[in-house]
Each structure stands twice: as structure tokens, then as C-alpha cells.
């Protein structure tokens, strides 16, 4: 049976609880990354996870730079 994302992501969220407190942005990126990886695993189709990761990191850094 394919992995059910909602339940699993809830468990992952609990596992990353500490990180969420320390660094929410990083947590968001990792959470999104894992979600994408699960979808890719479930469907067996590439979800360009690597590209999305680059984009998320790039967006976060540019946001921080502008903020500063």
C-alpha cells in the first residue's frame, strides 16, 4: 500500500519539533523537502526535488539578505 502522506508528515512534524523551535525557516525547507520525497516515492515519478530544494534555499537566503 502506498504511504499515506498526511499521517506520516504529522509524525515527521513531531520528530522535527526541536528544529521548528530553533530555526523555523530551515524546518520549513526540510519539511517541504520530505513531503516532496514522499510524493516521489509514492508515485514513482520524479518531482524535481533537487531543483525545488535549490529554489527554496535561494529564496530563503535572498529574503534574509534583503531583510538585513
Amino acid at each position: 500500500m502506498a504511504i499515506k502522506n498526511a499521517e506520516v508528515m504529522h509524525q515527521i512534524e513531531e520528530m522535527l519539533h526541536d528544529l521548528k523551535k530553533r530555526d523555523k525557516q530551515q524546518y520549513n525547507i526540510i519539511f517541504s523537502l520530505l513531503n516532496e520525497v514522499f510524493v516521489e516515492y509514492n508515485t514513482g515519478k520524479s518531482k524535481s526535488v533537487e531543483k525545488k530544494l535549490y529554489e527554496m534555499i535561494d529564496a530563503e537566503v535572498r529574503y534574509r539578505t534583503q531583510k538585513n
Binding site: 500500500m1 504511504i3 499515506k4 506520516v8 526540510i30 520525497v37 526535488v49 530544494l53 539578505t65
Partner: protein, 705 residues
């Protein structure tokens, strides 16, 4: 950080509702098994179609069935017409087709129904010739219960859909063939252990995530390093440090490879060492016993030889003296007579002839000193002694006889006591001989109990024990050598890691002054993400192992608690990639028996499925064929009860231990009682074989519950 929820949630998840088996192997016509949530037990004697039902599940899902002749799984193409039931083929008319099919109906928690059918049709050209298609055909219909909408998939597309629902790499765990358990879950093979864990825990998902973050971090770091900094000196320093770090990473990677190779070599050496130890132990005991047998045998021979020599030595003497046994009385009488007459001077001393001549010459008796002139009576008397030698002779003989009799008397008197001594000595030797013979026999009996069953007496006698010992020593040396190598590499790795850490800190401190802020921040963030994902992966794995061990112990304890001979706790040794049992002091238990081994393997697989399923919130139905064929009695019962408890839906196919025409055994059969009394078991079937000839035999289903 990690909190795996291991509360057992009973959810109405994927449930197999029905399997329809038509003209497939031993099943003639259409045969239907209905299932429900919870356990279904299917029992049957040998060759009643139990494994064929298990094959039906495999065939419909994965196009494979187990062929006994080649002892391997084969697809329809390889089976050909043999996959079709014999009676169905027999009854098929010439020119007509016979259809073989297996269908399963299952639904998931959203009540989406899946109806999967695999079909195979043969056309009978004549009694010996069939038209056989290359492959079977697969159809999957997916229906939404609420809307009634349905969609059909065929062949390849249907296979793709099934793979997402039932991943083939996990199939051997939820489509569980008990007699292949040692291949599925070897308790000592690193690769089997890793595969089981990887397959069942689906840790691949996190490993994929780690791969992405590693790659992205590496790429962003390269971008940062390639971009020239405005300060040339800084740029040069950055490059140098980066290169040093890369070299250290490469060194570490090389050491890691060496470490892995050394571990593999060590594992191989360990297998060899274990084999040699086992073999040596097997024969060591025999060697000691054989040594004793040899000793007792040689002692027995020596004693026999001693007996022989004692008999020979005494024979002549005893025999010779025996002749005189009984003469004691006569000798005594003679000697008494002689002594008395000697004392009474009735036996004169023998007179030498020369002495007589001297007397004649001297003309006097030298005994009484009476003169004896020539012609006198005394002279004539002396002369008469010279001529009458017979008297001298007689007296000489009498005196000699007395000497002989004297000697003989001693010996004759001692015959009786010497005979007794002789017999006592012989008895002593005989006792010793018997003693050694008995000891030898006892040792020979002992040898029979310790001798390996597959070794003949001749083989044992010619076994070179010294060679075995040498083999053992060599394998131990090899193992120690690899252990030492691993220790050395570990030391070196630690050293490189420390250097790497130091250089990394230096680098991190340096790049704070870089003018390429965006590139720098991107790669730093990417590295942090990578580190967190790796840590997350490592912590997840550690927690997984702990939970698996905990669950495995619960299941193992349940399966073994009623059997005093089974013992220990389950230890999942991730570092060494092994699963074994330990005692109260955490010492590994050696030489576990078959029942223990089977219980351990089932407990481990069940624990992985259970923990993995709880985390991923998916529940495969557990379909098991002869999962516990090595167990009997109460062990079997507790194993079945444990499996029923672990899985939301289980279809367990078991050999029927009861002789079905005997009411007593039926009444007392543990599994039948379980079926009868356990309300959780809503469905149960018994399989029987009908038909007189091989062509006509087919499985008959009897619903027990």
C-alpha cells in the same frame, strides 16, 4: 526528538475480501474463499492444496508460482499448461478452451474496491496437443464505492498499479512462505539483515532525501568556491583550505572503503571460523573418546600378552611339578626312613675306591684305624669292598636319592601354594583384562552418542584431528588479523575525522569575511539542511532499531513463554548486522535450537512489519504458508496466536496435525480448538483432496467457520 507512536491502531485499512481460484493447479472449477478483517485459518493435510492456494495469491499479484520440481518460482510462460488443473484439462473437449483464473477482491480505507484477475486460456487441439498462449492476462478494475465510478487497467498498466499497492520487494514478508524463512531472514548474513531492514522500514525515503541534500550542498559549495573573491589573498587561503578539506574527505572516504572491505573480509573469516569451530567441536569430543578407546585397547592387548607369558612360564614348571603332586607322602616317608637309619648308622658312608686302596697300601683301616696286615681278615674285608662296587653304588644311590628327595620335598610341598599363587595371578590379570574391555565398550557406546550422524565409523577413525585443529587455529588467526586491521583503520579514521573537523572550523571562521555573501549563505544553509537531514535519518534509524527490538521481544516472549526449553531476549545488533538471543547477563546464547530460531525469525520479521506499518500507517494483510512448520504442540499454538495479534488481517495456512477420522484427536487438536473458541477468527477452512487418480485429484474446500 523522535517520538514514534507505537500504539497499535486497528483501522479498517486494506482488506482482502475474497479470492476466487478457478482451474488453477489442484483447484478444479471455481473455488471461493471469503475473508474478513482479522485472522483466517486454513488447515489441511499434506498435498491438499495449501501451498497451491498460497501460489494463487502469488500468481495473481506477481505472476509467479512455486514449482516443486525445480524448487523455484516460475512465471506462467515457464509453467505453460502445467498451471492448469489436470481434471479441467481432462474434461475439456477437443476444439474447446479451458480457462484458468485467479481473482482477488480487496478494498482500502476509503472503500475503494480493487478487483484483480489474472487469466490463462488453453485450447485443446487433440488429446496431446494444446494451443498455449505465451503469457497470462491481467485486469484490474478500481471502483469508488460512493460514486460507483470505475476504471479498468490491463496488463502492464495493471501491473504498475499493483506495484504501488503491493511493492514486490516487500512481498516475501507479507506473502510469507515459512519454509523459506532461512533464506528470507538469515540471522547471520549482513546483507540479508540490511535488506530486510531496508525493505520493510522503507528507510529508502529518508535516504533519498539525504542524497538530495548532499548533492545540493556540494553543488552550492562549489559555486561559492568557484566564485572569485575580491581579496586575492583571501581567495588563495580559501582555496588552499578547501583543497585540504577535500583531500581529507577523500582520505576519509578511502579509509571508509577500506573499513567496509575489512568488515566484509572479517565477516567471511567469521563464517569460516564458525564453521571450523563447529567442525572441531564436533570431532574434538570424538577425538578424546577415540584416544581413550585406543588406550584401553592397548592395555587390554598388553594384559593379554602378559597372561600368555605368565601361562607359558608357569606351564612347564607347574606341569613338571604337577607330576609330583601326590608324592609328598612317599617322599616324606622315605626321608624319615633315611634320616632315622642314618642316625642309627645303618646306612654307612660310601667309601671311595681310592680310599680303600690307600688302606690296603697302608695296611690299616682308616675309618676305625684297626691294623690290617696282608692276609688278615681286616685286609680281606677291605679288599672285598673294592670288588663289591654294587654296595657302594647302592649306598651312593641311597645318599643321592636322599639329596634329591630332600630337594623335591621342598618343591612338592610348595606345589599347592604355588598353584594358588599362579591362579591368583591369572585371576588378577583376567580381572584387569575384563576391566579394560568394559571400559573400551563404554567408550565405544559413548562415541555413538557424540559422533555426528553424517560421519561413518571409518571416516571418524581416519579423520585427521590435528588437521582440524590446525584449520581452526588458522581461521582464528585470520579473524584476529581482520579484527586488528579494523581497529587500525578505525584509529586512522578517527584521526582524519579530527583533522577534518579542525580544518572545517578554520574554514568556517575564514569564510565569514568573504565578499560573496549570497553564495556563502546559500551553501552554509544547504550544509545545515544536509546535516539536519542526515541526523534525522540517523536518529530515525536508531529509534527504529530500538522499537523493532522492543516489539520483537514482545512477540518472541509471547511465542516462547510456555516453553521452558526456549529462552533468551532478542538482540538487534545493528552495528554487526545480526539478530540473536541473549541471556539475563546479556551474553549471546549459542547453539539455539530450531524452535528458538524459527520463533526468533518470525518475531523479527513481525516486529519490522509492525513498527514500519505503525509509522507509515499502512497495513499489509499477512498471508503465510506454513510459517511454523518447524514448531509443534504449544509452540505452534502460541506462534499462531501471536501472529493473529500482530496483524490487522492474517490468512494463515497450516498443516493439520489432527487425524481427521479420529474424534479424539479432533477434539484435542490445539489449532481446531483455537478456531472453535476464538471469536476473532471469523473464517476458517479445511482443505481435502478428492479423486481417485492423479488426473482426477483436486482440492475440496470445507468451511469450518
Amino acid at each position: 526528538m523522535l517520538k514514534l507512536d507505537i500504539e497499535h491502531k486497528k483501522i479498517d485499512d486494506m482488506i482482502i475480501r475474497r479470492i476466487e481460484v478457478e482451474n488453477f493447479l489442484s483447484y478444479f472449477g471455481k473455488n471461493i474463499f471469503e475473508f474478513d478483517f482479522g485472522p483466517t485459518l486454513i488447515i489441511g493435510q499434506n498435498n491438499t492444496g495449501k501451498s497451491k492456494l498460497f501460489d494463487a495469491f502469488n500468481w495473481v499479484l506477481f505472476d509467479r508460482s512455486f514449482k516443486t520440481e525445480g524448487e523455484k518460482w516460475e512465471c506462467t510462460k515457464d509453467w505453460g499448461k502445467d498451471i492448469v488443473n489436470n481434471l479441467a484439462k481432462k474434461e475439456c473437449k477437443i476444439g474447446e478452451t479451458v480457462e484458468t483464473s485467479v481473482s482477488i477482491l480487496f478494498n482500502d480505507e476509503d472503500d475503494i474496491k480493487y478487483y484483480l484477475t489474472r487469466e490463462f486460456q488453453l485450447k485443446k487441439n487433440n488429446e496431446k496437443n494444446w494451443e498455449i498462449p505465451r503469457n497470462s492476462e491481467l485486469t484490474l478494475t478500481i471502483t469508488e464505492s460512493i460514486t460507483g465510478n470505475s476504471k479498468n487497467y490491463y496488463d502492464k498498466e495493471a501491473e504498475e498499479q499493483i506495484k504501488t499497492l503491493f511493492p514486490e520487494n516487500l512481498s516475501k514478508y507479507f506473502l510469507f512462505q515459512g519454509e523459506s524463512i532461512s533464506q528470507i531472514m538469515s540471522l547471520t548474513s549482513r546483507s540479508a539483515f540490511t535488506k530486510a531492514l531496508t525493505d520493510l522500514s522503507r528507510i529508502e525515503v529518508f535516504e533519498n532525501a539525504k542524497k538530495y541534500t548532499e548533492k545540493v550542498a556540494k553543488t552550492l559549495k562549489k559555486e561559492f568556491e568557484d566564485k572569485e573573491d575580491s581579496d586575492m589573498a583571501f581567495q588563495a587561503r580559501k582555496r588552499d583550505l578547501s583543497k585540504t578539506i577535500q583531500d581529507l574527505i577523500k582520505d576519509l572516504s578511502d579509509q571508509n572503503d577500506l573499513f567496509d572491505n575489512a568488515c566484509n573480509e572479517r565477516d567471511i573469516a567469521k563464517i569460516v571460523f564458525d564453521e571450523k569451530s563447529e567442525e572441531l567441536k564436533k570431532y574434538e569430543e570424538c577425538a578424546l573418546i577415540l584416544k581413550d578407546i585406543e588406550y584401553f585397547d592397548s592395555q587390554w592387548k598388553q594384559k593379554n600378552e602378559l597372561r600368555q607369558s605368565v601361562v607359558e612360564a608357569q606351564k612347564k614348571d607347574i606341569f613338571d611339578r604337577w607330576m609330583y603332586a601326590g608324592t609328598e607322602g612317599i617322599l616324606k616317608s622315605f626321608l624319615d626312613f633315611y634320616k632315622k637309619n642314618k642316625i642309627d648308622k645303618k646306612i654307612p658312608e660310601p667309601i671311595r675306591q681310592e680310599f680303600l686302596k690307600e688302606m690296603l697300601e697302608e695296611k690299616k683301616c682308616k675309618v676305625c684305624f684297626t691294623p690290617a696286615p696282608i692276609g688278615s681278615d681286616e685286609y680281606k674285608n677291605i679288599q672285598s669292598h673294592i670288588s663289591d662296587k654294587s654296595l657302594d653304588k647302592e649306598i651312593e644311590l641311597i645318599n643321592q636319592l636322599s639329596l634329591v628327595a630332600d630337594n623335591m620335598q621342598d618343591k612338592v610341598e610348595n606345589i599347592s601354594s604355588e598353584l594358588q599363587k599362579y591362579y591368583a595371578r591369572i585371576d588378577e590379570i583376567d580381572t584387569s583384562i575384563k576391566g579394560f574391555m568394559n571400559k573400551k565398550k563404554l567408550k565405544e557406546e559413548e562415541l555413538k552418542t557424540v559422533k555426528p550422524a553424517d560421519v561413518s565409523d571409518d571416516e571418524l577413525k581416519t579423520k585427521d584431528f590435528a588437521h582440524l585443529q590446525r584449520g581452526y587455529e588458522e581461521s582464528k588467526n585470520d579473524l584476529d588479523k581482520f579484527k586488528l586491521l579494523i581497529d587500525r583503520i578505525t584509529g586512522k579514521r578517527e584521526y582524519i575525522k579530527q583533522q577534518l573537523e579542525d580544518k572545517q572550523k578554520e574554514y568556517d571562521s575564514l569564510i565569514e569575511d568573504s565578499s560573496n555573501i549570497v553564495e556563502r549563505d546559500k551553501f552554509i544553509l544547504a550544509e545545515k539542511i544536509n546535516k539536519n537531514v542526515s541526523q534525522f535519518h540517523a536518529v530515525f534509524l536508531a529509534k527504529l532499531i530500538t522499537d523493532i527490538e522492543k516489539e520483537a521481544n514482545i512477540y518472541f516472549h509471547k511465542m516462547t513463554e510456555k516453553n521452558a526449553a526456549l529462552s533468551g531476549k532478542v538482540k538487534v545488533d545493528y552495528e554487526n548486522q545480526e539478530v540473536y538471543t541473549i541471556d539475563e547477563t546479556d551474553i549471546r546464547l549459542q547453539n539455539i535450537n530450531q524452535a528458538n530460531k524459527v520463533s526468533l525469525q518470525i518475531a523479527f520479521v513481525a516486529a519490522i512489519l509492525s513498527v514500519s506499518n505503525k509509522f507509515w500507517n499502512t497495513y499489509f494483510p499477512f498471508i503465510a504458508d506454513a510459517p511454523i512448520s518447524a514448531l509443534g504442540g504449544n509452540n505452534k499454538l502460541t506462534a499462531v496466536e501471536t501472529m493473529i495479534e500482530i496483524f490487522n488481517q492474517s490468512i494463515i495456512i497450516l498443516k493439520d496435525d489432527a487425524v481427521t477420522d479420529d474424534p479424539d484427536t479432533l477434539r484435542n487438536d490445539l489449532i481446531r480448538n483455537l478456531i472453535q473458541n476464538d471469536n476473532n477468527i471469523r473464517n476458517s477452512f479445511e482443505l481435502k483432496m478428492e479423486g481417485d487418480t492423479l488426473d482426477e485429484q483436486h482440492t475440496k474446500i470445507v468451511k469450518l467457520k
